[in-house]
């Protein structure tokens, strides 16, 4: 027998050992051995006594024994002889005897072997001792061999499944995104947002490697016979430097079936230098390839040529409609409570729907289940504080976070005669979350988010908006194979503008959007090759498109209230992740969506074949409450395939089609405070799009360097663009001012990424084009005469570099570099004198480009000292945004300055280097 497996077998068997050496009936015979090898002696004794002997040949090769005894005492005599030679004889099972050198084998279980509360049943049968554990074992030790499952099934063919939870050792919080795989890298799994993993692997012995960013690499030895579960606790990485540490994320690149998925850890967000030191998730998303924005003040982002409203932004399963505070300066998400961020650019799983370009999913983390902790941060413009801890230890925890800004001091610096220095601008936001564990299988999560922005200037204009998101999620493990998540959410976005510049015309204009959603999601594993994900979503929308009321006693404004819109959207989906073999996997998803605007509503119908206008109204329809005004429905395909040539090189391809029923209307280039969302209805069709993408992914240098190249082509139809001089606010027939547009986008993204190590980060280059066209023949004056024109965020070349270098454990240095072609703008082609001044004449939209964009930021991070016993830990970041001070143009424009002069100008937003310092403290 080979030594190691033999030894392990011994160890296993001895775990289950029980009885002392039993007495057995023997034939009467005397034994007399003189200087015989153990082999020979054992052969004889085995035949005569019926015992079975277990020993290592290596250890006993040179052993020569002399034993003399009567038959019935052969065992004790042998024992004595062996002891003299330095060996031990130990009983194993009913008939077995083990000969070991140096020390004996334990003949009974240590009392603390199994953790309290676990249910264990020992079953002894024919020398094979089996333990079938009903609860999960918790694997804490790297040196123990964990035997899992029913050994009776040891000889069965095929793979088995191992499931369980991976948790942080100290806080007991689930660890998401942790990679667990066999040593030969052929079998691989990742823990999900709840820390749950499911790995299928062949029966028998295995060494499992467990890796995750921020955690020490560890391994576990297992021997698995049949389906079973094993929970693993992992320790946080304190020293993550010297040498190159392989990370879980690297495997992801090659192994994941989905294309175009980007995941960012919350820790990394803090290290990327930002304007004013405000860590901003949206700005981090902008550093990823394929993601652009129109300019630095833009709160929105564009993914692979899609418009800003085509991104589904989910926060704890609630939808976010306005993704920034204060014109995109500050992030909507409080970085301290975010646990992870995932951006799906290409393959969008079937469980998501409703937007056609991308899905950005941000989840907040659960509170620390063990003790109360918190953190606070002070920056130039904002302050934030987070508090978390257990309500019932290990069962219920809470997390609270708040943030506010105090930028009024900046406004006070504005010169007095501008009239704006009496203004004020501020926002605050609050996050609250509770997570409760009923038992191992059932968890409940309740989350709430509230934010309010307000700004006003010199008592003439003021503006305020609010976001409210609340969600409840119940997760239940129905069986070993299936999981269910039920969730319900309520989201609200509303704003109010007020203008008191002319007392007789003073008004308030309000807008409100509400969304109620319910989702049921099931994940079931069928056999070893299929993982099914299916479910149903339903959304109910209520929009008050505009409420215009007088303000103040002198106001002559007549109230005008646009009728409320409502709609129902629902979808069924099913998707199968089918792993044919470790090299080839498919993800086949189908989502079927149904949408209709609902009554009560009065709406117009227009003459067909002619562009919609007030003159072409044919009738007014009064739809009663609850009536489906105009249903739209259709399927969406979500297909992707991955073929791994080797464990480090794979090819992926995918095709997705999507539908979007709610549109954001804007006639400004960036998201402005008065943009509105509009539902599809009898006159406005849903947008539709499809995307085909393919890419090659390779990990080099022992998985330390990830490389990928991905190309895509995208087609968008019925995207809503506005007509010339459209009136988008308080428009009783807004469908006459919008035009359905067609769009196409294509590009190639090349990325190199190094996730861990002293020097880490990523470098990407993207070539992409996005073109739009108004090709509706009934429109009298289409933009650019119905030709293709570039969209406002069409920037063909784009290079991004994000880098982080750790000088020592505490000090690190970050750099961010961004280069892109200038965005298109519309410049005048002529000028004429009219009504006392020079006026500008424009022609083709977006026919020119502003100069290229280049920006470099640097920052220096000082991390908390690693003394674990300190009461508080503080970290400081010092940096400079826009180090080179380049006046990156946001726009170029011509302006007539009165009577005789037309001058051209360039507006840049951050025109000089901006230094900043932020201070964070954890307690």
């Amino acid at each position: 027998m080979r030594p190691l497996p033999f030894l392990i077998t011994c160890l296993c068997i001895v775990c289950f050992a029980g009885s002392p050496i039993p007495a057995r009936t023997q034939d009467r015979q005397d034994y007399h051995f003189r200087y015989v090898t153990l082999d020979s002696l054992v052969k004889v004794v085995e035949k005569k006594t019926g015992y079975r002997f277990y020993y290592s040949k290596n250890q006993t090769d040179t052993l020569l024994l002399s034993v003399r005894s009567r038959q019935e005492e052969i065992i004790p005599a042998l024992n004595r002889a062996l002891q003299e030679a330095g060996f031990f004889l130990s009983p194993v099972g009913e008939n077995g005897l083990a000969i070991t050198k140096g020390q004996g084998l334990l003949s009974s279980l240590p009392s603390e072997f199994y953790k309290a509360g676990e249910d264990n049943k020992a079953d002894f049968e024919n020398g094979n001792d089996i333990i079938t554990a009903n609860g999960s074992q918790v694997a804490d030790s790297e040196n123990r061999l964990y035997t899992l499952g029913n050994p009776e099934q040891a000889e069965m063919k095929g793979s088995v499944r191992l499931t369980g939870y991976i948790r942080d050792e100290t806080t007991s919080q689930p660890s998401a995104g942790i990679s667990i795989y066999t040593e030969d890298k052929k079998y691989h799994a990742i823990s999900d947002a709840y820390g749950f993993y499911s790995l299928s692997l062949p029966r028998g012995y295995a060494t499992l490697i467990i890796q995750g960013f921020g955690y020490k690499d560890s391994h576990r030895l297992i021997r698995i016979f049949s389906e079973s579960s094993l929970d693993i606790n992992i320790a946080e990485e304190v020293y993550s430097l010297s040498g190159i540490v392989i990370s879980a994320e690297k495997m992801e690149n090659v192994r994941n079936v989905q294309l175009g998925v980007e995941k960012v850890r919350a820790d990394r967000i803090r290290h990327i230098p930002m304007a004013f030191g405000e860590a901003d998730i949206i700005k981090v998303v902008l550093t990823l390839p394929g993601v652009k924005s129109v300019g630095e003040a833009s709160g929105g982002f564009n993914v692979r040529g899609g418009a800003s409203d085509q991104n589904l932004i989910l926060f704890n399963d609630g939808t976010i409609f306005n993704s920034a505070h204060l014109f995109g300066l500050f992030s909507l998400f409080n970085n301290d409570i975010v646990s992870s961020l995932e951006l799906y650019k290409s393959s969008i799983p079937a469980r998501y729907g409703g937007r056609i370009s991308s899905v950005l999913e941000v989840n907040s983390r659960e509170g620390n289940k063990n003790k109360i902790t918190g953190s606070a941060g002070i920056g130039l413009l904002t302050t934030k504080i987070t508090l978390e801890g257990p309500v019932v230890k290990d069962k219920t925890s809470f997390i609270l976070a708040g943030r506010t800004t105090y930028s009024d001091w900046l406004l006070g610096l504005i010169p007095e005669n501008s009239g704006y220095n009496n203004g004020s601008a501020n926002f605050y936001d609050l996050n609250a979350g509770i997570s409760h564990k009923f038992n191992e299988n059932n968890h409940l999560y309740v989350n709430g988010y509230f934010s309010r922005d307000r700004f006003s200037f010199n008592n003439e204009n003021s503006y305020a908006y609010q976001n409210v998101n609340t969600s409840v999620k119940f997760r239940s493990i129905l069986s070993d194979n299936s999981t269910m998540v039920l969730s319900a959410a309520y989201d609200r976005y509303n704003y109010r503008t007020r203008d008191t510049s002319l007392a007789s015309n003073a008004y308030d204009l309000a807008y409100k959007l509400q969304q109620i959603s319910a989702k049921a999601d099931f994940t079931t594993r069928l056999g070893l090759h299929h993982k099914l994900n299916y479910g149903v979503n339903a959304f109910l929308y209520y929009i008050h498109p505009g409420t215009y009321t007088p303000f103040g006693e002198a106001s002559l404004v007549e109230s005008d209230i646009l009728e409320r819109e409502q709609a129902l959207e629902s979808a069924l989906y099913i998707s199968d992740t089918w792993e044919i073999n470790p090299n080839l996997s498919f993800e086949l998803g189908l989502r079927y969506g149904f949408y209709s605007a609902l009554g009560p509503k009065n709406y117009y119908l227009y003459q067909a074949g002619v562009s919609r206008s007030e003159e072409s109204i044919t009738e007014t329809v009064n739809a009663p409450g609850g009536k489906f005004i105009k249903p739209y429905h259709g399927p969406e395909l979500r297909l992707s395939v991955r073929y791994a040539f080797t464990p480090t090189f794979s090819l992926k391809a995918g095709f997705n089609s999507m539908r979007q029923n709610i549109h954001m209307l804007s006639n400004t280039t960036i998201i402005s405070p008065t943009d509105i969302w509009k539902l599809s209805d009898a006159n406005i069709k849903p947008q539709q799009g499809w995307q085909a993408a393919a890419g090659l992914y390779k990990n080099l240098f022992d998985n330390t360097l990830e490389c990928s190249i991905e190309g895509y082509y995208k087609n968008i139809s019925d995207y809503l663009d506005y007509a010339s001089s459209a009136k988008l606010l308080m428009n009783h027939h807004i469908e006459t001012d919008v035009i359905e547009t067609q769009g196409k986008a294509y590009g190639v993204e090349v990325m190199l990424k190094r996730s861990l190590g002293r020097l880490n980060g990523w470098l990407s280059y993207t070539y992409s084009r996005t073109l739009l066209r108004q090709n509706d023949p009934s429109v009298p004056n289409p933009v650019n005469n119905g030709q293709w024109y570039p969209a406002a965020y069409d920037k063909p070349h784009d290079v991004k570099l994000v880098g982080n270098f750790k000088i020592t454990h505490r000090f690190s240095f970050s750099m961010n570099l961004d280069y892109s072609t200038g965005r298109p703008i519309t410049l005048p082609v002529g000028s004429y004198y009219y009504s006392g001044g020079w006026r500008l004449m424009y022609s083709d939209r977006n026919a020119h480009r502003i100069p290229d964009y280049f920006r470099m930021d640097l920052s220096f991070n000082i991390e908390p000292s690693h003394k674990l016993t300190l009461l508080t830990h503080s970290s400081v970041t010092i940096g400079v945004y826009n180090v080179t001070g380049r006046k990156n143009p946001y726009s170029v424009f011509f302006k007539s300055d009165g009577h005789n002069n037309v001058n051209s100008y360039m507006l840049s937003i951050f025109g000089c280097p901006i230094p900043y310092i932020t201070y964070n403290i954890k307690f």
Binding site: A297, M841, R845, N900
Partner: protein, 390 residues
């Protein structure tokens, strides 16, 4: 509505974000020039002018060229549905075609169009037939705002019949001002001599039309009323309100389409360059080319009987702002003409002669001669009698 928010937002972001607006010349501009530009409105009850010019390319205007190409040779007339035509009375050198057929009692309910046969490009342009709108009443007043240090002209209009709704104002403001130092002599090229008549260098008048497009709609109000709309805001230290100020406001009531046209023109030229600026875009006016449907004409011809009001304000009691005077430069009466002309070249002018001492006193022309600021010592006919002549 939106424009105030947008302007305000820009200032906030502009300041917080340390933004810069710098002059910049984009390369490779496309130039389209030579389009016909027609400005004016047909009036049935008073004289009116139609001004025709041609558009310039963007590069030439950007580089500072200010020449407006007027078209003086077009055949222009007004036509009604019954094919009666009304010819202009005269054409000015600035391409202004003056019409006045109020004496011919044109039908106030009829529809009229403007027809242009252009000699420059051989095209014929016609505006759409429009019906006349009524001007409505208007009152002007002014207010002095001490806190904001501003002088404001306010317009109040009201249409009980709720027909007006779309208001468009233009104005011509005229003001007089005086030089710091009253001068009674001048340099005739050889020596300094006394002026013959009352000094023409002390008090000057200047006129300027409005350069902004002033629009307001009252469709959202319960009454068709414009209340205290500030049509002109002048800061206290402005030369316009140093002595006397007179403004003539013309109120025109527009159709919704005409209003939209002018509003778009205003947005394209003025509401640009801000972060939240809407994309500029073109809409067509109501002038189309008969023989070439692709030809493009700029302008909107409405038919309306504009009302006019004048407001004159004596501003002498407003606080004055004086520049500090430099010390006088004293030259001998016998100085060489050459030396004196050098002084003139340095923007100095004489203001007083002292025969006894045989010297002339010189100071900066800007303080001595009111014509330096572009005014003329010609008193307008409408100038109130009670105000000083010189």
């Amino acid at each position: 509505m939106k424009k105030q928010i947008i302007k305000a937002c820009t200032v906030l972001t502009g300041t917080i974000l340390i933004s810069c607006v710098v002059p910049y010349e984009p390369a490779a501009l496309t130039d389209r020039e030579g389009y016909i530009v027609v400005e004016g409105n047909i009036s049935l009850t008073s004289p009116f002018t139609i001004q025709i010019s041609r558009s310039a390319g963007i590069s030439s205007v950007q580089s500072g060229a200010k020449n407006i190409k007027y078209e003086r040779t077009a055949n222009v007339y007004v036509r009604d549905r019954q094919n009666n035509t009304y010819a202009p009375v005269s054409v000015s050198q600035f391409g202004e075609y003056l019409f006045d057929f109020s004496s011919q009692d044109p039908d106030p309910t009829g529809e009229y169009q403007l027809v242009i046969h252009s000699g420059l490009d051989g095209n014929t342009y016609e505006s759409e037939f429009e019906q006349a709108t009524l001007s409505g009443t208007m009152e002007l007043s002014y207010v002095k705002d001490e806190t904001a240090q501003e002088f404001r002209i306010l317009v109040n209009s009201h249409d009980p019949g709720k027909n007006s709704r779309y208001y468009y104002w233009t104005y011509i403001e005229t003001w007089d001002y005086v030089s710091r130092i009253r001068s009674d002599c001048y340099f005739n090229g050889i020596k300094v001599v006394k002026v013959q008549e009352p000094s023409y260098m002390y008090r000057c008048w200047k006129s300027e039309p409005a350069s902004d497009i002033l629009l307001l709609e009252t469709t959202n109000l319960s009454e068709d009323r414009v209340k205290d709309f500030p049509i002109r805001k002048i800061p206290y230290k402005n030369i316009r309100i140093s002595q006397h100020y007179s403004i003539e406001v013309t109120q025109t009531i527009l159709t919704p389409q005409a209003y939209e046209y002018l509003e778009t023109m205003r947005k394209n030229s003025n509401d640009v360059g801000d972060l939240f600026s809407p994309q500029p875009n073109e809409i067509r006016g109501n002038i189309r080319c008969v023989n070439d449907p692709d030809a493009f004409a700029i302008g909107y011809i409405s038919v309306c009987n504009s009302g006019r009001q004048r407001l004159s304000v004596d501003c002498t009691e407003l606080p004055e702002v004086y520049e500090t005077l430099l010390e006088d430069t004293i030259m001998s009466l016998k100085s060489r003409p050459y030396d004196l002309s050098i002084l003139v070249g340095l923007c100095y002018s004489p203001y007083m002669i002292d025969e006894q001492m045989g010297v002339s006193f010189w100071n900066l022309t800007r303080c001595v001669d009111c014509r330096y600021f572009g005014g003329e010592p010609v008193r307008p006919s409408f100038w109130p009698e009670v105000w000083p002549t010189y």
